[in-house]
Symmetry: C2
Subunit: 318 residues, 2 copies
């Protein structure tokens, strides 16, 4: 027995046949950059067919299909919203995928939900029932597990951590991204660096070389490593915000663990001791003493493992 | 059939016999100011006995006892922590109360839990499954309901909202109260006003009359109503923080409703339209459009109703 897991990102769809103990048996990866939503749905259907056929050929029965989408899954309607896939504003993905192999149940969830399911199943949060996964990539989101269940909220959009307000001075730019995401996402680091370079005419450091509008978070980390003062300021500011948000999660949720993952953690994993130090200043002290704060150990696989867990959870419900 | 509900505060214990539809049948109120923890436990036992006897005499059967405590209830041990009751650091309250009338189940929970249970049962949040009660009194706490269940966290101390970090500039005073509570609780308003009066030698307004160390939140509201500029600044700062926290709850929890209660709401209920306006600037916009933000309609009764609901919930579990 095995399940089909699909971790759909903004640029590729990573699918796999996964056994109930978390072993990845067969993989199937397809690029989806700049493809229409309808085509992406067809690609997923094809991946399901391919893995199903290969599973049967290798003598494996497929008992469920789990899909992680980069956005929101509306459990009431089976529709999805994914800002980076053209046409997926309210797309009937569950129905379309369910038609592929009608007998095998398809279950979809958001990438945030998949990350925390993957981490609590096979990652740093293994076995925890109260856990938070903070995903810092281009944007910021969080998967939150409360007493063993994913926090969804009234309409499936809970965990919009990028919108945390962390400084009383409102800036109109927050309207697009949220305050925390504006300052401390991957794009945020680049944005803050760009603004600083533009404002500081006396700065002739490493980040002066690319045109300011081309500075990426990668450039910031590189300049930081080389000892650039401006890059250090950008990183220090992000560490403060990452620490404050960590503290807020600790005080509100009293979790066993907070896991940092996503593209930036990654290179920012070296700052976790500083994030912990910052969080300690702000958090409710008893709750702080009960939490672990770690980087993801399964990194890019969290979404795939989570998708497998989504498929497996259907079985345990039935 | 009825239940005994006890809403224990820092200064009094309000008990009542409550019917399953929420009618208060008999009341019993006792002052507990400056009494030892052991004595407070004895007072509660006596209240239980009194109400039980009166119930039987009036032909009512008592099926459960619910108690709200001003602190933390540790569900694993049955012990409580209540900072304002001397000796209740880790006090075996469940066991002591259960011995009063052994046949009738006693269930204890924190005041935060009681408030949100009361509000979702009979108050502004009636029938909601995702709801937040922000209690602003001397201190600040929150009762959070997630999909119909109280958020407790790993060790029953979730909801420590007073510790939310809302400004990057850390002050050592936050170590005692938390950032949000330092600025925007009842004591916080008085503290901020005191600091401003001390710093502003040119201020000769209404808050110059009491010695600065005697300024209370009541004085601040009175001065505000009379148009005092310093009091207005204090209140405006609090509105900003109340709005930011409201936004953070909206973005993280995607709730149906946020209810403001506690001693300050009360007089601060007039500011709810401004709090909503501030929250709208910061919150995830879709989640903002799905939430109601209101003052408590059951006010001082939320804890008592919640305690009754705690007792009733035992019945529905069995």
């Amino acid at each position: 027995m095995a399940v089909i897991a699909i971790d759909l990102g903004g640029t590729k769809s990573s699918a796999a046949l996964v056994s109930p103990d978390g072993s990845v048996l067969i993989r199937d990866k397809v690029e989806i950059t700049r493809k229409s939503g309808t085509l992406v749905s067809k690609i997923l259907q094809k991946q399901i067919q391919t893995l199903y056929t290969k599973a049967l050929r290798s003598g494996q029965d497929v008992s469920g299909i789990g899909v992680s989408v980069p956005g929101i899954y509306y459990s009431q309607t089976g529709h999805v919203w994914a800002p980076n896939i053209p046409g997926w504003k309210d797309y009937p993905l569950q129905q379309e995928l369910q038609n592929t192999i009608p007998d095998i149940p398809v279950k979809i969830d958001s990438d945030r939900a998949a990350y925390i399911l993957g981490e609590t199943w096979l990652g740093a949060a293994r076995g925890c029932r109260n856990a938070v996964f903070i995903a810092v990539g281009t944007g910021i989101g969080a998967g939150i597990m409360v007493d063993g269940t994913i926090l969804r909220g009234h309409a499936d959009i809970a965990g919009a951590t990028g919108w945390m307000s962390l400084t009383p001075t409102f800036r109109s730019e927050y309207t697009r991204f949220g305050c925390f995401e504006y300052h401390a996402s991957g794009d945020g680091l680049a944005r803050v660096a760009r603004d600083m370079v533009n404002e500081d005419q006396d700065y002739y450091g490493l980040l002066r070389n690319p045109l300011p509008e081309h500075i990426s978070s990668y450039d910031v980390f590189e300049a930081f490593t080389a000892g650039d003062a401006l890059a250090q300021e950008v990183i220090n500011q992000a560490i403060k915000f990452w620490g404050m948000v960590t503290a807020n999660f600790i005080s509100l949720f009293n979790p066993e663990i907070i896991v940092f993952g996503g593209g930036l953690f990654g290179p920012a994993i070296q700052f976790i001791p500083l994030i912990i130090k910052e969080a300690q200043r702000w958090a409710q002290p008893i709750a702080f003493n009960q939490v672990r704060i770690e980087g993801s150990k399964i990194g890019g696989e969290a979404g795939l493992y989570g998708a497998a867990k989504i498929a497996l959870s259907v079985l345990s419900e039935e």
